[in-house]
Amino acid sequence: MVIHVTDITVRQLNVHFDKAHALKDVSMRIEEKKITAIIGPSGCGKSTFIRCINRMNDIIPSAKVTGDVLVDGTNIYDAKVDVTDVRKKIGMVFQKPNPFPKSIFENIAYAPRIHGTKRKEDLSLIVERSLRRAALWDEVKDRMNKSAYDLSGGQQQRLCIARTLAIEPEIILFDEPCSALDPIATAKIEDLLIDLKKDYTVVIVTHNMQQAARVADRTAFFYLGELIEYGSTRDLFEKPEKDLTEQYITGRMG
């Protein structure tokens, strides 16, 4: 049996946008099958950081990334690595739900189809499995051919999670997945996150410290592009080592 190690080791990661230095010498290890939360004030580089892990920053022309991100022992920035393989292995869910303007079925079938699954029966199986896993199946099973835009915001976000699950990733990155949702929809996503960590390594950016405290095993605090403190969620919130961290979690930061 092949044992996959899907922890992520980040070494000396730097990101520049033209002249702005958005991420400064970040090194950290993200553990396998745990939820790791990234917190910090707006503009501190949280999104920039997780977008390095699936190389989404590649599509921003002005972004220059240096340093290593090792997944499964390989540096995903190595010239030999195919970036589409990286993104297939590392899924991403965005801040604002962004379903395709197509049917619910097509939203989920798209990725498996472009990755080689052609038979309709196989696709249907993948679609059903992904929707069930994202706790959305019961709500949509009777309207698979309806537009994804007819779903509520929370349902759309779970659809986006199901869409990501359909590529069978090992790691899933969430960039503030609940910031556009109401508390009930948020609670559903949080339950789902906790369920997903049984099988996936999860990294979540959040503005909401209660959310980090509720779902994350480990939490990293970023400030002005630097990783200030990183440790178990409980330690970070109960006995932070750095003054900056304490100021931020107690709400005393400007």
């Binding site: 393989d85 990286v86 899924g91 604002k96 395709f100 798209y110 472009i114």
Partner: protein, 282 residues
Amino acid sequence: MNRKLKQSIYFGLFRVSGWAVVAAIAVLIGYLLFYGIGAINWEFLTQAPRVGMSKGGIFPQLLGTIYLMALVLIISIPIGILSAVYLVEYQKNKFMKGVWRVVVHNLAGVPSVVYGLLGLGLFVLLLDMGASLIAAGLTLSILVLPIIIASTREALIAIPPSLREASIALGATKWQTVRHHILPYAMPGILTGVILSLSRAAGETAPIILVGAAYYMPGLPDSLFSAFQALPYHIYALATQTRVALTGQSLYGSALVLLMLVVGMNLVAIMLRNKYRKKYRW
């Protein structure tokens, strides 16, 4: 002056302007219908003109115009759409994007007779195509390229970046993203440009006179390299005859046919556009 009065004066102005446009179009179409409808029958559409163009039909001219539209469709639409896609989706250099945009914008404003001169110099003389269908097709294709590029560009940049990100983040290549998402979602806007272009190609007169349209010729064009006749120039020919009284009905008939061709195409475009709008909305 009190606000209510001011409001009704301005609304009145808006209303008058709106109706003036409608009235102008109605008068134009009514006029053409009144004088031209009598000319249109099966013979008119399928026969060549006879007796100094005063009798017979407009078949060679209609066919010539349809050929031109087909050439423009084949040549400029793929090139226009692909270059707009390149410009928006693939060109990363902001400066180059800006240069492109300025060039395209300015090309759209160049008077059509200048394109005619370009076609005459480049296709007819330099490339030795002679006064021909192909030279006219190429000239009109260059003339409409800026229209297609500009409208395709508008349609592409209206698509939210978050949809591109969604596809890329699933491990799709850029081409898969363009092919399965960007192009289908942009289709209504692209079709608008296509139709505008075809209407232009059908109606332009000055450039085709310079590169291959004949005032009158017997027979039909037998290859891409022969001269041809086209409706707009035919209308000009009929209107400038000394004895317009004799050609009058043909004249209005021809104009009406040209108008119906263009209006018909616009209707098809609107139908296609609505179909795509219903399928993909965001």
